[in-house]
């Protein structure tokens, strides 16, 4: 079975434009609905979405700033730690050269004792050597036999002789393990000088880096000023390889910047040059990781925004539909009332006209009647005219026709009289016979067979005779219009539970299509097109049945026929709302 979505379509969608002229736009309910929905949506959603966008940008900017600031602080702290580590060892060596005469330091045993003390006190020292001003290592203590090695041609030797202090890059050297060297120069009173040189293993150095508080995706490395990695790390496990980023420009202070790799991943990079060393501390963080909490919040916000928008839209559409529907229904009622009044006026005019015509005809008719009657009397009462059967027959014919005319004018007058609203005891059978009597000739011309079934037990009840006549006249008229020559019309009356009476008017005419069936009671709905029919008949009938407190139903099959069932209460309809309607109709008729 196909789902019925029809009930979700608002009633005003069924509106067919009937109004025209300068005020037409007032009745375009679809347009009114659209305008209301668009305007309300614009007013409600624009500030909401604008605020959401502004808030999004401001918050995002604030969070990015916070990330950069945090990275900068981290790098600064770490630089201080590393600087301190290196300074500490530098000062230790300087203390040693100041505290111990050159001669003492040349004593290997004493040097070994000092190395031992340094290891215990500070740690990280792996050997200790004394080099004279000509570059020859004159004393050495450590794991290798480096005594007598000539460093004269080495670059570091030249630098330490020039600057007085030297910190080397990390290198593998003879021991084939990463380490670096700190060397200090000491001037002797005789103008000569010597150098105290110590190799430091990377263990302590790396420990400092690994103790940094970094996010899971963060990484901290030391590079030299050529961009060569000095320490291994998460992303760059190969020491001495070149970093994939460009070497940042020299700066005295800590710097933070953003860059992206070949795959488009954005990194936040903080760096600091460690002064008087070849080292640059570099902290790398993946930006998407840092923004994760923000994206989580953002998701919640987007969901909230979407739910709000859907909610607001639902309320706007609901309210607009409700209001426009009510406008539409009020307008429908107004139109229906107007047309009922118009129709009633028209009927009243016809009624007055009919009454006038009937009266005018009645007098000459009475004269014909009496003259014919007199001729008959003469035939009857005077013997010398009697016996001419043919003449008597002709006179009877005249009198019969006059009687028929009289019956018609009486019925016309009766109809006109019953236009006026009056509740009285009515006999349904008499009313139906009256209506059939009116349309009897038409039925004869079209060879329509009319059958009426009225059970004996149908009681008289209080109702409006005129309205009942109009109702059945309209229904029978409609049935005649739907039938071809030789059709059948059946009118059946039945009593339901002693409370109401039902009248079924059924024909075997052309029937009504399903799509039209829902609309037959709407004003101006007609299938007769230009050939006739105002589209008001059934709408008026519907209104009249409702005024009498009854109900009208229609069932139809195309090609098989149509059945209208009018149900009327046997008890008089309650006074009140209907009373007002009655008043309106009264006024219409009186006018």
């Amino acid at each position: 079975m196909k789902p019925d979505f029809g009930r979700f379509i608002p009633k005003f969608r069924a509106y067919r434009e009937a109004a025209s002229g300068p005020f037409r736009s007032l009745f375009d309910f679809g347009k009114i609905w659209k305008q209301a929905v668009f305007l309300c949506t614009g007013v409600a959603l624009t500030p909401l979405i604008l605020m959401a966008l502004i808030d999004y940008n401001v918050t995002r900017h604030a969070i990015e700033s916070e990330i950069l600031l945090r990275t900068s602080r981290l790098v600064s702290n770490e630089r201080r730690t590393i600087s301190f580590f290196l300074e500490e060892r530098k000062f230790a060596l300087e203390f040693v050269v100041h505290d111990n005469p050159y001669e003492t330091l040349k004593d290997a045993a004493r040097l070994a004792a000092i190395l031992d003390n340094l290891r215990k006190a500070l740690g990280g020292f792996s050997d200790l050597g004394v080099i004279d001003s000509s570059g020859i290592q004159v004393s050495y203590t450590g794991p290798y036999s480096l005594l007598g090695v000539d460093y004269r041609q080495q670059d570091w030797f030249r630098q330490v002789m020039e600057k007085g202090v030297y910190v080397s890059d990390v290198f593998l050297g003879l021991r084939n393990a990463p380490h670096f060297v700190i060397a200090v120069k000491h001037m002797l009173p005789n103008g000569d000088s010597f150098i105290l040189r110590s190799s430091l293993d990377m263990e302590r150095f790396q420990k400092i880096l690994s103790q940094m508080e970094l996010e899971p995706s963060g990484d901290a490395v030391i590079i030299n000023r050529s961009g060569i990695l000095q320490t291994p790390s998460r992303y760059f496990p190969d020491i001495f390889s070149r970093i994939p980023f460009s070497i940042p420009d020299f700066s005295q202070t800590t710097q933070v910047y953003q860059t992206s790799d070949a795959k488009g991943r954005i990194y936040v990079i903080g760096y600091a040059y460690i002064v008087d060393t070849p080292f640059i501390l570099m902290v790398t963080k993946q930006k998407s990781e840092l923004m994760k909490p923000w994206f989580r919040t953002l998701r919640h916000l987007v969901v909230f925004l979407a739910v709000s928008v859907v909610g607001i839209l639902a309320v706007i559409i609901g309210v607009a539909t409700y209001l426009v529907n009510h406008m539409y229904m009020a307008d429908q009622k107004r139109v229906m009332t107007l047309h009922q009044v118009e129709y009633a006026n028209k009927l009243a005019s016809i009624g007055r006209l009919a009454a006038g015509v009937a009266h005018e005809i009645n007098n000459p008719l009475a004269i014909i009647n009496e003259k014919a009657g007199l001729i008959k009397d003469i035939f009857t009462f005077r013997s010398h005219y009697a016996g001419d059967a043919k003449l008597a027959g002709l006179i009877d014919g005249i009198i019969a026709s006059v009687e028929r005319c009289g019956a018609i004018t009486r019925r016309l007058l009766g109809f006109a009289r019953h236009m006026e609203v009056r509740i009285q005891n009515v006999n349904l059978g008499v009313i139906i016979q009256d209506v059939i009597g009116f349309l009897g000739k038409e039925a004869e011309y079209k060879s329509i067979t009319v059958s009426v079934e009225i059970p004996e037990d149908v009681p008289e009840f209080e109702s409006d005779r005129g309205k009942l006549q109009q109702i059945f006249l309209n229904l029978v008229n409609n049935a005649f219009a739907a039938m071809n020559d030789g059709g059948h019309l059946n009118i059946a009356v039945g009593v339901i539970h002693d409370k109401s009476v039902s009248v079924t008017v059924s024909d075997d005419g052309c029937g009504i299509a399903d799509t039209d069936l829902k609309r037959v009671f709407e004003p101006f709905f007609t299938t007769k097109g230009r050939s006739g029919g105002t589209g008001l008949g059934l709408s008026i009938t519907y209104g009249l049945v409702q005024e009498l407190g009854g109900d009208i139903q229609v069932a139809s099959t195309v090609g098989r026929g149509t059945r209208f069932t009018v149900t009327l209460p046997l008890a008089r309809p309650p006074q009140g709302s209907r009373e007002k309607k009655k008043g309106e109709t009264d006024a219409g008729i009186a006018g």
């Binding site: 008719l365 009475a366 009289r417």
Partner: protein, 124 residues
């Protein structure tokens, strides 16, 4: 029973008088209220059959005047107009049964006249 027929349609009342004569009823006819008021001065009538709508003086008014002059006189109204006012007025003035709608069958008129006269006989 002496009957006076009053209607501005004189052809109607003339013919009606002749037909009544065939049935043994002595009926005079006049074409209006003024003539009727003149005629009653010279002749006594038991019953007047009046048209409701007549020029100058209508049937209802004429009935009032005649009744004032001859309280014993009875009346039947004939009307060609079946409107509510006519019925109400007719019913109030003459009792709801004493009116007939044109065209009327002579038998119906005779029956009604007898009823009216009989009614007056009972009431006295």
């Amino acid at each position: 029973m002496r009957v006076l027929l009053v209607d501005d349609e004189t052809e109607l009342v003339e013919t009606l008088a002749e037909r009544l004569a065939f049935r043994g009823v002595e009926a005079d006819w006049v074409g209006g209220a003024a003539d009727a008021l003149e005629r009653v001065k010279t002749k006594a009538f038991d019953l007047a059959v009046l048209d409701v709508k007549m020029p100058k003086i209508g049937g209802i008014e004429l009935k009032k005047r005649l009744q004032a002059l001859y309280p014993a006189m009875k009346f039947i109204f004939l009307t060609g107009h079946g409107s509510e006012e006519d019925f109400t007025a007719g019913a109030a003035e003459a009792g709801s049964n004493f009116y007939l709608i044109k065209p009327v069958k002579i038998e119906a008129l005779m029956k009604k006249m007898n009823e009216v006269m009989q009614h007056s006989g009972e009431s006295r």
